[in-house]
C-alpha cells in the first residue's frame, strides 16, 4: 500500500512535468525551435502570479486566468521581436539567443525578487485530500494539477486536428514555404504558437508556485524535466509527452523512496535508459 501511494503521487506529479513539457513540445513541433529559456519562463510566470496575488489578493489558482493572457501576449511579442529573427537553416542562432534569454531572465528575477525562495499559499485546498480506498488518498491539489494537464493536452489536440488555426499551424510545421504560398503568414503563426506555449507555461508556473518553494534559479531544472518528458514520450506526440511526464514522476518518486539523494538521479537515469534503448521515445509520432 505504501508503494501504491508512492506511485500514485509520482503519477500526479507527472502531470506537472507534462505541463512543463507541453509548451516545449508545441513550439518544437511547429517551428523546430528548442527554447532553452523555457524553464526560466515557467519561473517568470510563477513570479507574475506572485505579483497578481499580492496586488489583487485573488486566489492563486484563479490567478491562472490573469497570468495566462499576460504570458501569451509576452510570448507573441517575444516570437515576433526576437525568435522570428533567429529561425532559419542554421541551428545556432535560436539556441544561443534562447540561452542568452535564459541567463537574462534568471538575473532580472534575481535583481527584482532576490534569491529568497517564495511560495504562493493556496489555503485549505493545499491540504485537502480525496480518499480513494483502503486509506489511500490523493491530495486535491496534485489531482487538480493532473486534470489540468490532461485537459490542456486534450484541448491542444482538438485545436490541432479540428480547428482552422490548428490546420494552419500543422501546415507551417509540415512545410513553411508551401504554407506561405497558400497564404499563411508564418511569422504570425509562429507568434501564435509561442503565445499558446507560454499560456501553458503560465499554468505550469502557477502550479509550480503553489506546490512548493520557488526561486529565480529553478528554471534550468524545469527545462530539463520538460525535455526529458518530451524525449521519453516521443517527439511530436502530446499524449506521449503526458506519458513521459508520468514515467519521470514515478521514477523520481520511487528513487526518492529508496534514498532521498536518488530522487533526481532516478529520473535522469530512466531518461538515459530510454535514450539508449529506444531513442525515438516510447510513443513516437504516428502520422494520421
Amino acid at each position: 500500500m505504501e508503494w501504491a501511494n508512492v506511485i500514485l503521487q509520482g503519477i500526479l506529479v507527472g502531470g506537472l512535468y507534462a505541463l512543463f513539457a507541453t509548451g516545449l513540445s508545441l513550439i518544437f513541433g511547429v517551428m523546430r525551435l528548442v527554447n532553452i529559456a523555457h524553464g526560466d519562463l515557467i519561473v517568470l510566470a510563477a513570479y507574475v502570479a506572485l505579483l497578481c496575488v499580492t496586488q489583487t489578493s485573488i486566489h492563486p489558482l484563479l490567478a491562472i486566468f490573469l497570468v495566462a493572457p499576460v504570458m501569451a501576449v509576452a510570448g507573441y511579442g517575444l516570437q515576433r521581436i526576437l525568435f522570428n529573427r533567429t529561425l532559419g537553416a542554421d541551428l545556432l542562432p535560436p539556441l544561443l539567443v534562447s540561452f542568452g534569454l535564459s541567463v537574462i531572465i534568471q538575473n532580472v528575477l534575481l535583481q527584482i525578487f532576490t534569491a529568497d525562495s517564495r511560495k504562493l499559499s493556496a489555503g485549505a485546498i493545499e491540504t485537502a485530500t480525496v480518499p480513494i480506498f483502503n486509506g489511500l488518498a490523493v491530495g486535491v491539489l496534485p489531482l487538480l494539477m493532473f486534470v489540468a494537464a490532461v485537459a490542456i493536452i486534450a484541448a491542444l489536440q482538438f485545436m490541432f486536428y479540428s480547428l482552422p488555426i490548428g490546420r494552419a499551424l500543422r501546415a507551417t510545421s509540415d512545410d513553411p514555404e508551401v504554407a506561405r504560398l497558400m497564404g499563411y503568414d508564418n511569422r504570425h503563426l509562429f507568434g501564435v504558437a509561442m503565445a499558446l506555449s507560454l499560456a501553458v507555461v503560465a499554468v505550469a508556473g502557477v502550479f509550480l508556485a503553489v506546490r512548493a518553494n520557488f526561486d529565480p534559479a529553478l528554471g534550468p531544472s524545469r527545462l530539463i524535466y520538460g525535455f526529458e518528458a518530451v524525449i521519453i514520450g516521443g517527439l511530436g506526440n502530446l499524449w506521449g509527452t503526458l506519458a513521459g511526464g508520468v514515467i519521470l514522476g514515478v521514477a523520481q518518486a520511487i528513487g526518492a523512496k529508496i534514498d532521498p539523494g536518488w530522487q533526481l538521479l532516478a529520473g535522469h537515469l530512466v531518461f538515459l535508459a530510454v535514450l539508449a534503448f529506444r531513442p525515438e521515445g516510447l510513443f513516437p509520432k504516428v502520422d494520421g
Binding site: L82, L92, P93, P94, V97, G100, I104, G261, P279
Partner: protein, 347 residues
Amino acid sequence: MSAPSFHIARSTPESRFALVIGLLALVALVAGPYWIDRNGMRIVGEFLIYLSLASMWNLLAGYAGLVSVGQQAYVGLGGYFLFAWAILFGLPPLLAIPFAGVAGAIVALPVSLLVFRLKGAYFAIGTWVVAEVFLLLAAQISVLGGGSGISLPISVVRSIAESRDGRDMAVYWSTLGVAVAILIGTYLLLRTRWGLALQAIRDGELAAETSGVSVATAKRLLYVVAGAGGAMIGALIFLAKLRISPSAAFSVNDWTAFVIFITVIGGIGRIEGPIVGTFVYFLLRGLLADLGPTYLIILGAVAVGVMLFAPKGLWGLVADRFGWQLFPVGRRLVLDTSASAATSKGA
C-alpha cells in the same frame, strides 16, 4: 610568355605578425611569475582557462555543429579526478592533470554514444542532463565530501610546493602549459586533414559527407578530445581553488554559459573568435562585475545582440572588413605576377 607560375601560401602577412606577437606574449607569460604580482597571475590563469575552454567549445559548436551545454561535465570530472587522485590514492597532484585528460576521454566516448542520438538543440539539452547526472553522482561520493564538498588536505597542498609562492608558480606554469598545448593543438588540428574535414562540416554537413568526409567519426573524435581537454582544465581550476563541491565543479554558468558568451561575442567558427571574446569578457567583467546580477544581464544581452546583428561575432566584423586572418588554416593560391617581380623579390 612563360606559363604563369604560382605557389601555395599557408600564411598571410598578418599571420606572420600574429606569430611574432604570439611568441613574444608566450615569452612574457612564461616569465610571468617574475614580473606579475600574485593577483595578476591569478587573473592570467583564469584568462588562459577561459580561452582554452572557449577554443574547445568553438571547435565543437562552431566547426562540428555540436552545441554542447554540458561541457561542465568534463570540467567537474577533471576536478573530482584530481581530488580522488590526491586524497584517496595519495598520488602527486600535478601528475593528476594529464591523467585527468585520459579519464575525460575515456568517459566522453561512451557518453557520446548516448548523446549523439540526439540532434541539434536536443543534443544541447541531452549533454546538460549528462552533466546533471555527474553532479548528482558526485554528491553521492561521501569520501569526497558528498553534497557539501571537500578541501585538499594541507599535506597534499604542501606536496605541490612548500611555499605559497612555489605553489602559485607551479599552478601557473601548469595552466600555461596546458592552455598553450590546447591552443596550439586546436590550430594545428585545423590545419590537418581532420581540420579540413571539420571546416567542411561547418560549411555544410551533407556536402561534407558526400565529399567523403566521415562526419560521424570526425564529430566523435572532436567530442572525445574536448572531453579530455575539459577534464585537464577542470583539474587545473580546482588545483588553484584547493576546494571542490558538486555545484562549483559542475556549474553550467561558470564553465559553459560564460564560455558560450565568449565564443559568440568573439566570433563562432573562427579560431580568432575565442581570443577576441576572452579579452572582451575580461574587460566587461572588470568594468561591471560589481553590479552583480546586472552584469550577467548585460553580458547575456550583448551575446543575444551579437548573435542577432553580427552572427559572425566581433572578429567576423573585423575580418570581413579588412580580410584579416591571424591564424590561417586554409591554403591560398598565389600567382607570381611576373618574372621580374620574382627576381626583384629574390634580390
